[in-house]
Amino acid sequence: MRFPIWVRPVLFILALLALWQIAIDLHPGQLLPGPIAVFAATGELLQHGLLLKHVVASLFRVTWGFVLASITAIPLGLILGWYRRGEWAFNPLVQVFRPISPLAWIPIAILWFGIGDLSSIFLIFVGSFFPLLLTAMSAVQNIPAVYINAGSNFGLSSSDFVARVIYPAVAPRLLVGMRITLGIAWLVVVAAEMIAVNSGLGFLIVDARNAGNRYDLVVAGMLIIGIIGLLLDLGMRSIGRIKYFQWGD
């Protein structure tokens, strides 16, 4: 007997949830909630409209930080990647900044922007900027020389050359890099909200724990974070599936 393709994964998830519930039931007096409690907590969040408020706050910050990082890092990276001396000049610095956890910037963010939206947008910007810069640099450097030669043969102006050869040639790689970076931005916003602001999904988690050990809300918040992150990733993937971008693989 053949099942539709989604049946087995769903069964697997249900089995995990059942195991989880049984494990919780076997240890009464536990801080951690079972799936039923988490489900109820999600309903509670939905009812008060709190969830929507937190989700919108988080998405708002991610959008701003990510967009700002994209419009600065991508053009800069394309330029640095195109000129070999540019890469030499900036690569070592970028390599030092990149491994610094965006959260380590929190003291500086608070010093410059105070506690609030701007701080967490700054942290997302820092977290997205360096990966995007490196992606853009390597995307330009990996344009097959034959496309550049062929393109430069038709007497295009420099702006035409960028728009009609460089940009389409780097687009597939850039898109992959942007998808990965959006994932990073989503990780960072949640972490930043746990420290620097008083709204958003990260704040929801920390607040639920600190104000009365509501672990059912904590886990519900985590799952919502996971699902939204997955949706963001799927959205970026579906852009990558457009034929125009697809030749890269």
Partner: protein, 262 residues
């Protein structure tokens, strides 16, 4: 004040493409390495010239210098008396690798160099060259859906569409299987006879050279120098088992220094 008759005489004798004392020297690990040395060559309008030489001899370097992709260390290249100083749409290179843009359809690729034309004229031109290289029905296909031979035909169409004075082909059929290669040669000859462009064609296959060219320029191994020039005086279509064809091919093999018996 110049004398009228000398001007006329000069322009009548003036070749389409003139290479004078051309040398290209690379820096390799700090040492100069000559790739092309002292090439002097004249190609007339509408002529089909093949450059033949052992692999790695500097054929492609010579062609890149002629196309303006590489600045020569000494000497110069002139087309219609004008010195070549960079890539230009009046002389298009066709590469061995599939250099069609994978992000554009067949139409998009052929129209790549035509963006300045009015829409109607551009579409006419695209349609004309789609037909010329026999890609009808594939106008909206992406290169990833085309075979190797079709990609190379598309590359030739993209080059011809901008009406170049000279077409440079750098081993364009080198990556194709031998049957497709023979078919592509016939196609190229058909296109050349229809449009009569000046063509410079790099190859390392003697058969290809003798089948296609009006003249075959034989280059020595690195650094490339002109060793011999062989005129192929057989009219098209050429019978490749005729005694004249075989004699010319044997002579070419001898010039390259290969035995023609295995």
């Amino acid at each position: 004040m110049s004398l009228p008759h000398t001007v006329i005489a000069a322009s009548a004798a003036k070749p389409k493409l003139q290479v004078t004392g051309l040398s290209v020297v690379y820096q390799s690990n700090g040492k100069p390495l000559a790739a092309v040395e002292d090439i002097n060559l004249e190609i007339s309008d509408g002529e089909f010239v093949c450059l033949v030489g052992p692999s790695g001899c500097g054929k492609s370097t010579l062609m890149n210098a002629m196309g303006g992709f590489l600045s020569p260390s000494r000497g110069s290249v002139a087309i219609d008396g004008e010195t070549v100083s960079g890539p230009d749409r009046r002389r298009i290179l066709v590469f061995q690798e599939y250099a069609v843009f994978p992000w554009l359809t067949v139409e998009g690729n052929i129209g790549f160099g035509l963006s300045k034309l009015p829409r109607e004229e551009r579409e006419q031109r695209i349609a004309h060259y789609v037909e010329l290289v026999r890609l009808q029905g594939f106008e909206h296909a992406y290169p990833s859906d085309l075979s190797g031979g079709m990609k190379q035909r598309l590359q030739v169409a993209r080059a011809l569409a901008v009406n170049p004075d000279v077409l440079f082909l750098d081993e364009p059929f080198g990556a194709l299987d031998s049957i497709t290669r023979v078919l592509m040669r016939a196609e190229l000859l058909r296109i050349w006879q229809a449009e009569r462009r000046t063509i410079v064609f790099v190859t390392h296959e003697t058969d290809e050279a003798v089948q296609l060219a009006d003249r075959v320029v034989v280059l020595s191994s690195r650094p490339a120098r002109i060793q011999d020039i062989l005129t192929i005086d057989i009219p098209h279509p050429r019978n490749i088992s005729s005694p004249r064809y075989l004699a010319l091919r044997d002579e070419l093999l001898k010039m390259i220094g290969l035995a023609y018996e295995i």
